[in-house]
Symmetry: C2
Subunit: 489 residues, 2 copies
Amino acid sequence: MTQIAAIIGGGVIGGGWAARFLLNGWDVRVFDPDPDAKRKIGEVLDNARASLPGLYDMPMPAEGALTFHETVADTVAGAVWIQESVPERLDIKHSVYRDLQAVCAEDAVIASSTSGFKPSELQDTATRPAQIVVCHPFNPVYLLPLIEVVGTDANADMLSHVEDTLRGVGMFPLMVKKEIDAHIADRFLEAVWREALWLIKDGIATTTEIDEAIRMGFGLRWAQMGLFETYRIAGGEAGMRHFIEQFGPCLSWPWTKLMDVPELTEDLIDQIADQSDAQSGMYSIRELERHRDANLVGMMRTLKARDWGAGALLNTYDKTLNQTLRIAEKIDDIADLAQPVLTVDRAVPIDWTDYNGHMNEARYLQAFGDATDRLMLIIGCTPDYIANGGSYFTAETHIRHLDEVHAGARIQVKTHLMMGTGKKMHLFHTMYEGDRVLASGEHMLIHVDLATRRASDPAPQIAQNLTRLSDAHADLARPDGAGAAVGVR
Amino acid sequence: MTQIAAIIGGGVIGGGWAARFLLNGWDVRVFDPDPDAKRKIGEVLDNARASLPGLYDMPMPAEGALTFHETVADTVAGAVWIQESVPERLDIKHSVYRDLQAVCAEDAVIASSTSGFKPSELQDTATRPAQIVVCHPFNPVYLLPLIEVVGTDANADMLSHVEDTLRGVGMFPLMVKKEIDAHIADRFLEAVWREALWLIKDGIATTTEIDEAIRMGFGLRWAQMGLFETYRIAGGEAGMRHFIEQFGPCLSWPWTKLMDVPELTEDLIDQIADQSDAQSGMYSIRELERHRDANLVGMMRTLKARDWGAGALLNTYDKTLNQTLRIAEKIDDIADLAQPVLTVDRAVPIDWTDYNGHMNEARYLQAFGDATDRLMLIIGCTPDYIANGGSYFTAETHIRHLDEVHAGARIQVKTHLMMGTGKKMHLFHTMYEGDRVLASGEHMLIHVDLATRRASDPAPQIAQNLTRLSDAHADLARPDGAGAAVGVR
């Protein structure tokens, strides 16, 4: 039977919760007096629909039903989960709980999105304190997995049900053992926010500079390992104890001017070292380094494809690396037009390899796709040309995987233009590591009008460049494997 | 002419600098009295060679020469950049600078990796203060782009040269305007470290829990946007001012118990709001949300492919989503063996689309590769079987791109086993969105012995499953496009 979640308070956080439950197949009932609530939640849902399902390699359940209600009583009808995301004022929250508990099921979970209040404070004055628990999410709620779950002794019996429910909608419930103001993550966010305010106030850095200081450096580390696993690596084979002994005193020096710092007693060092062993002791430092590096390479290449943050920097540097125009940018850059054109020359990234230990089959096509993009650029199908409505689409591809290649190897693709007349462009790419042939990629592309998505003739300049290059390639031997079909000798 | 960098002090940081310069074509000369220095730097270099070149889509320069030297004088011969990474003690650093300045070129840059000291402190007692500047890197130095560059009035003339040099080796120099203890990034790291020590000391959280609180939540946000751009989104269309006014007072409440907090005056709010406009004002909040979501999806899918952190959680959830075995895991899960097997059923992730606005050609092969992996699993070529030394490699692929598909669309692949005898497996995948055919993928796979990397017969159980499925598929019509060659009608 479809489960029902009641969302008390829309907005960005409530809307994110609504999206998370809906896309996981729950029915969602919303109470929010804001006249714009429907539009606002609709916008969050649009974002969630565009992003969340693609995270999985399986279809998500059919979306539940979303309804909006005028009264709290109507909203919570049938709800087994009630998510409260009203403003962060204790008097408002207490009043909401009174209203809710007068009408909701006694065994429903009342979860608060509060980032600051302790569950004991929320439970105070409640009819049934045991029903109320902190479930603090992070924006965007539909994508980020972390939920801080904080209860009191009163709701000890309910917490495993809360944990299971949150896992059931794809989240990562962090079961916080002791309640404190601001739970765990917001302690860090507040510490950083306070530090950032000082840096701006004192004219040390701007918001841009602070954001770059984070996302070009430790932000990338924290996205995949957090704080302690990162520092475990810094400590080397000697481990966490060594790190603290080496860096602890030096780090404490600027702190002490500002604030109260825990003393690094032997007991505290032991505690941290033991916990770190339990957390990461199954990996050697070398293994951790390699995991870290592969994670970083993958994430930075993702940002590169989006030309964003640390990835945008990589794109800029690619231009520096190609200052000698080793890889041509236009047809006149090519020294010898009669030879196949060098269209790819690169190292195989770590994240292009798979469980067989070699470059994954799809990455062969990615490299051939890059080679095709480069040839398009060379004949004048530039980003500007594409922005003006013309491009080439690949219609057909034939790949022969002839040999394996591994991460770090330098590969090159050379491209033979077999035909380039009218709407068609027929390419034959050969991939090498040194002299060793790794693969061939044969591709038929069609020029399209991006407005109609139909085949169309390319601009005269492109047609002319295609003729020039295919004439120059006319004397090349027909490539081995051209025109072959799968399984046909 | 090849440029020369001198590395004073090896270890993890010095080794990272050595790798960064070497792989960017510089000659590198190392001074480190540690007898293990050669081995340690060699290990860092191995990691760097495996990861850094693949970040770029261009070949890096030919690697420079790495040499180790007995004396400081010998080490700095010809060096235009001298990177000091000795222990964080001011007296040691002063003594190293005295030795360096007695023998190095007067126009060489002496850059300190210090994370804590101000440049004025480093320059104190130096023969030529103007030569010494802070260039603080982040581990792993060969991958992370951030470098905090901090100078004093004494070296104002040198800073643009320092900036250019660092950009020239692919880094992101953050030019810090005013010197303070610990520069910018380490102020944040120290604030978080201090907070983490309290949380452990008070028994609130373990190192594991703290790391999860970071990497399952705000760590992912910070890797791509940092602090202020993230909060700008939280403020909604009303912007940064709204965020501070809404969350500022509430956030300040737990702070004030612990420490000195800057007062949120109108002036400070204006300053932050103006800087945030200058930083991110070119995007609407909706645009920022979409960039953020696409970045997060890409990074989380990267971690998923590596089964790490937030990505490991996605893999676990995939199993939950497939609890009904909608996608078969073994041959007996299949209800009707006589039909093509459902091998992929998923949404198109945001990061699978390209500049043409549709799913990129390489992602078609990624989906077909996933379909092949699933069919391998179904016939018994499981992770255990692969770990024991048998697998299938794709030898040949033919793809017909018949129609476009966009991010968020639900796609399915159905697989026809055309032949499965001996070492060979011949698959024909058809990709659909609903009833619309998007593409076909025809593949010849060969069973291999992973030890010899040569063709070999599969285990009897696999051969038997292949026969069972290919017999059941024998009556299926020959798929449209099977056996076709590129450009052949």
